[in-house]
Every structure is written in C-alpha cells, then in structure tokens.
Amino acid sequence: MRIVLAAVAVMAFIAANGLVLVYMERKIAGHIQRRPGPFEVGWHGLLQPIVDAGKLIGKQLFTPDGADGLLYWLAPVVSFVWVLPLFIPIPFGPQLTAFEMDLGIVLILAFSGTNLLALCMAGWGSNNKWSLLGAARAVAQSVAYEIPLLLAILAVAFTSGTLDLSNTVKLQGGWPWQWNIALQPLAFLIYFICALAETNRAPFDLPEAESELTAGFHTEYSGMAFGLFFLAEYANMIVVCAVATALFLGGWQGPVFSGVWWFLAKMYALLFLMIWLRWTYPRVRFDQLLNINWKWLLPLSLANLMLTALLTKVF
C-alpha cells in the first residue's frame, strides 16, 4: 500500500517539479541573457510549461525509417520509469520518506546507472548516426563519471558510518558547520561535478550537444517520447540534488527550525546552480571530459577516500 502511494506521490512530484524546473530554467536563462524569458502565457509566463507539455503531448509520434521499433519506443519509457525508484529512499523530511531502507544509497547508485541503458537503446534504435554517436558518448561519459561519484559518496558513508540516507541526515546538525560539506568539501565538489556529467548537463552535455550532434541520442524523437526523456533528465537532476542535500547539506535540518522546506530550499539552490552553470559555460570536448575524470576527479576522490578512511580509523 505504502509503495503504491509512494509511486503515485513520486510521479506527481516529478511532474510538478518538472514543470517548475522548465519554468525556472527558461526564466533564469532569460534573465541571465537580459531578456524576460516566457512572459505571454499567464502572469509572467507562469503557465508556459503547461502549454509546452500540452504541445508535446499533442504532437505526432514518429518512427523513423529503418528504426528498431521495440528499442526505439522502449527507450523513453525505460528512461522515465527507472527514475522512479530513485525517489524511494530520499528523505524529504523527518517522516517524509517513501520507504526507509538501510541501503538507500546503494539503491540510488544502482538504479541511476540504468538511465544509461535507455540512452543506449535510443541511440541504437533510432537508426541515426548522430543518435549513435550521442549514445556512444553517453556510455563512455556515464561509466567514467560513475566511479568518482561513488567514491565521493563512499567517503561520506565512511564518516557517518551508514548507508541509510535518513540516518545520514540525522547525524548532521542544523547549522552549516554541522553539515557533512564542512567535513567533506572535496567530496561535495567531486560529487557535484560528477552529478553534472551524469545528468548530461552543460558543460558536460555531450550526448546531446546540439551544435555537434544536432540533438544527440534524442535527435529522432518527437512529441511525448522526447518529453519523457526531457522529464527523466529533470527528474535525474532532482535526484542528484536531493541526494547531495541529504548527504552533504544536512537534509531537512536547518537553522532555527527543521522540516521539508529546508530540504526543498537546499535542493532548489543546487538546481539553480546547475542552471546557472549551464547558461555560463561553453561545452568541453569529449577527450577533455574524460581527462577531467581520469586525471583529476578519480585520483582526488581516491585520495579523499583514503584520507577519510585513515582519519575515521584514527579517531
């Protein structure tokens, strides 16, 4: 019963936040570029994302010539459906967790890798060379960045001694210096960079780099099939920011009073940062992307982990 309720709640949460994020992204992009962004539909364009969604739903679904129908249509569904379990262990508030589990972090790490499969299927199934190149990039990028991401999280798990997200939050205090980010600033940095790469956000948006690969893996998708990829990307963004909030930023705990609002505020602050980064930087090149990972992030996260292990053993 709780699972069903949770699934419905998570779906609603993703949809609602997707709409908010679309609006937020476009408004922030607009104002960074000294223009108002969406303005015409509703007050200050507030209804724009709903209209966008309506447009996407209304569009024709189109299968390209020579596409592998099964893979092609399964890909967006897989991409979206496998985001849902990621929300299960996230502690939005003291009581507001879909399903408390001891190994919540492991669940998230396990399922976050599957999004890659969807991109792969989309790239191969589209029978489009751009899509294929995008998928190839996505695989290399995701596999590479998963490792430092994992090591960064592991460092936090060492310090707090638990893989349960709720417990991790409870072990932190309300004030910023009591958060894990104060203990593990490097891990947070590595985690955040890896999170950008894992969610294919600029400056690491190579799988869908539109000036190089037209639109990467979703070149051929139209209508709601594209919409699902889109929604999954935003859902993934929410997940990585929520996990970062729980692991590093004290979760629902905040100064003076605690609660779900603190969680959402911190999560949206991180989302804002992600959007801000996207509208500031150029895109890195593919070999540079991998160099950043193998030459910087991986050694740093390993060193950080070793140091953490040593310190936890000593103290």
């Binding site: 104002h31 000294r34 500031t280």
Partner: protein, 179 residues
Amino acid sequence: MRKYIQQLKDLKSLIVGLFITGDNLRKSTVTVHYPRQEVHNLASFRGPIELLPKPKNPTQPRCITCMMCVSTCPSGCITVVKHKAPKPSAEEKQAMAEAEARGEKVAKPKAPKTPKQFLYDYSLCSLCGLCSEVCPVNSIGFSSDVYMVCRRRSELKLDLLARLKAKADREGRTVDEVA
C-alpha cells in the same frame, strides 16, 4: 607539475564567468517588449516605398509618369500605367477638323500626367532607393512601415495610389483643409 597548478589556477576564470552572468541576472532586462513597448527609431527606417502627395492635394501624387523609376528599378517591381488621352467628342472632332482645314495648329487633347495606376510589388523590392533618387519630382519616398504583415505573396502587390488615399483619409487630411 606546473601544468597542473596552472590548470587549477585557470579554474578561477570559471568563477569569474559565474559572477558575470550572475551580475547580468540581477540587472534589468534590455529587450523591448513588443506589444507593450515599441522601439523608438522607426522614423529612420526606410520600408516599402510610398508615393508622396502634392503639397496642395494629399490624395494626388506628385508623379508625372515619366517612367524613370520603372526603367531604373533593378528588380522591376514598379508598374506605372498612364492615363489614355481623352477621346474628343464628336463636336470637338469636328472643330478640330475644321481648324485643321483652316490650316491652324491643332492641339490634340493630352493625357493627364498623373498616373492611372501605380503598382508596386514589395515582394521583389530590395529597398535600394534608386527609384526615389531618380524621380525628378521627388514623388517616391520610403514609408517607415515596419509592421506590414501578409498571409500570401499576392498581398505584397501594393496599389500605391490607393495607399496614398488611405493614408490621407487616415490622417483626416482633405483637399479643402490643405487649401
């Protein structure tokens, strides 16, 4: 090793970039919000050509149908139709014949110099302004109409005489008023 330190130092530029975009995020927008605001410099825009009226009659163009503009236009977008000379009535013909018989010089009725039709195909025009430069009576000018829209190409074939009249009507100017 120095290379790596340099790469770390270069990361500062990323922070600087964030501050610049953040600064712009804070500032007000610079775009002109079209239906609510308009740009201020429409007057200097040289849009589709228009006929300029005679100083005393806002519905009549200064045009003397010399056809200079028609022959000059590089894309052939102007068509001017002249008035035909009025046919003399039977009595006039008789009078003319009599006069000719008397050996007098007969002045045949002349066509009015004003154009009968002045057609302009805006879809072909490249707004070079040569027509307005060659016009001996300065009858062609540029309108500053930036908001012209149309649904099909045929709507861009404009009757400039009608537009001149419409403009005079719109501005409420009549012959009497000017006189």
